[in-house]
């Protein structure tokens, strides 16, 4: 049908992926066994790409709270809080979030994506300026489309470039809101937060940080990068999600700026979406209550991250710039990236395949996210399989002679005679992350 013709480039990429193996967007798990294992195509598979950082998706207390809320309050709220009113749990969770972050107010959203849409798209309006990092998540770019503010990009993690942009705006009326992320979701690199804040303060701007990947993961009590860097008092706005370390779904905006409550009446993603169901609120509250004391889980998570990063680095893979619960293998060759992802899947390890332009600098990424629930044996097996397949594909050096390496690569190629060269991926992203 003609209305779908504009998606032909996406269809082409999808078909190419299917022709050489599994399609990342069409995977269907037969069974979820635990936070780190599932059954896929009849095979037990290690989950190494689900952002389940603290491994709380099967936490008994969270499940019990969710079941109790389902029985007591039903399956859903059937509307937005503006139209249908709030449940007690919504207000309690907002109070607990504000208390957890040591900030004045919190607003719940129905997903993390919508929290960014609702916060960024509303806080900066006509006549204002949004200054966003070049590697921002899609939710931030989409929020910019929702806002009437002028949008200015600065180079990724570059406070000097940000300062130049703010300097050129000096004296112009309008609020300047800088938007950054604590951990960037593709490579796992962190923001140079202190330097960013110094620039922000110098030019009288405000700062919103998305702590989606750092909640529960960084800081002594799990409040994220702001806590770790000791700069919480310098942050105007924080957004985050319950869909990673908290193990459920939902998002939030937190602030110390007086008067945040009015955002509820101006934020369309808050006003025109059904609110979180009581069972989700109950599981989120239970999981959030565990975060401050989850020191052992954080230690295990970072031990696992270090083990995976070091193992892959030692094998010769090109990785993101720092150890992080997100570990990404960077590749130039789309065929090899797809082959590595498929090879791991066939061997029983699920990761994420991320393709340009959703990736920094046009890399093809095999993205892993680590959980505190992973055993060191699971991480070791993932490293071993990755190394073996990476060698077969010629992605990393083989410990044998160079000639043997070339021969192994040829063997690997012969295994999949049907593989056709992937064309350069165009502007629409195919990303599983």
């Amino acid at each position: 049908m003609a209305i779908f013709d504009k998606f032909q480039p996406l269809t082409d990429v999808h078909e190419q992926l299917k022709s050489v193996g599994q399609s990342p967007s069409a995977l269907q798990f037969d069974e979820i066994i635990s936070p780190t294992e599932a059954v896929l195509n009849g095979r037990r598979t290690i989950l190494l790409g689900t952002n389940n950082y603290l491994g709380l998706t099967f936490d008994d207390a969270s499940i019990d709270k969710g079941i109790a809320a389902l029985r007591e309050q039903g399956t859903g709220t059937t509307g937005s809080r503006i139209a249908n009113g709030s449940y007690g749990g919504h207000k309690e969770l907002e109070r607990e979030l504000a208390e957890f972050y040591g900030m004045r107010d919190a607003i719940l959203y129905s997903t993390g994506y919508m929290a960014n849409l609702g916060a960024i798209g509303t806080l900066a309006g006509r006549g204002d300026y949004l200054l966003i990092d070049a590697d921002s998540h899609a939710s931030i770019h989409d929020a910019c489309k929702l806002s009437d503010a002028q949008v200015i990009r600065f180079r990724h993690n570059d406070p000097v470039n940000l300062a130049k942009k703010l300097e050129r705006l000096a004296g112009k009326p309008g609020e300047k809101l800088i938007v950054i992320e604590s951990i960037y979701s593709m490579l796992g690199d962190t923001s140079p937060l202190k330097e960013m804040i110094a620039v922000k303060n110098k030019y009288g701007a405000s700062l919103l940080i998305d702590e989606a990947h750092s909640l529960g993961v960084m800081g002594a009590t799990g409040r994220g990068l702001c806590e770790l860097a000791g700069v919480e008092k310098d942050i105007e706005f924080v957004t985050g999600t319950f869909s990673k370390s908290i193990g459920t779904i939902g998002g939030f905006l937190i602030s110390n700026v007086p008067g945040l409550d009015i955002v509820r009446l101006a934020s369309r993603p808050y006003m025109f979406t059904a609110s979180l169901p009581p069972s989700v609120v109950a599981t989120a509250r239970q999981a959030l209550s565990r975060v401050p004391g989850a020191t052992e889980l954080r230690t295990k998570l970072w031990d696992n991250a270090t083990q995976l990063y070091a193992g892959l680095k030692n094998a010769g893979f090109d990785l993101g710039p720092q150890v992080s619960p997100i570990v990404a293998i960077r590749m130039q060759d789309p065929q090899k990236a797809v082959a590595l992802w498929n090879g791991l899947l066939e061997a029983g390890v699920y990761t994420n395949l991320a393709l340009p332009p959703a990736t920094p600098s046009g890399w093809f990424l095999l993205r892993s996210s680590i959980s505190a629930a992973h055993s060191s044996q699971q991480i070791a097996l993932a490293v071993e399989l990755c190394t073996r397949i990476g060698r077969e594909l010629g992605l990393i050096p083989c410990p044998l002679t160079q000639g043997a390496s070339v021969e192994m690569m040829n063997i690997a190629t012969k295994k999949k005679p049907s593989e056709e060269p992937l064309e350069t991926v165009k502007d629409d992203a195919v990303v599983q992350a």
Binding site: A134, V151, I152, R153, K164, R168, L169, P356, S361, G362
Partner: protein, 99 residues
């Protein structure tokens, strides 16, 4: 506005000016070269996305380089107005006038 064509003139600056000798055009071409497909001929009418072998990431990097070279900021909505190099020349002149 720029008129398409290699001998296009500008009204923005109020001066008749051959685009091929225009300093902004020349700076844009200079900043484009590292990002564009080496085999393509860069002309004022070249469509940046389709004619120069550049994807959205390459365009973003090029814009950063151009901003540094010209010491100005090109907001997102202005970038979305641009198709050809001559469009970009026009946007730069407008931004310089507004600064």
């Amino acid at each position: 506005m720029w008129v398409a064509g290699e001998n296009a003139m500008t009204e923005t600056t109020g001066k008749a000016c051959d685009m091929l000798n225009d300093p902004i055009y020349l700076e844009i071409v200079s900043q484009l070269r590292p990002h564009a497909d080496k085999s393509v001929n860069i002309t004022p009418n070249a469509i940046i996305l389709s004619d120069l072998g550049m994807d959205s990431l390459a365009i973003m990097d090029f814009v950063f380089d151009l901003e540094d070279a010209l010491d100005l900021t090109i907001p997102e909505h202005r970038i979305s107005e641009v198709k050809s190099i001559s469009d970009l020349v026009d946007v730069v002149y407008k931004l310089q006038k507004e600064a």
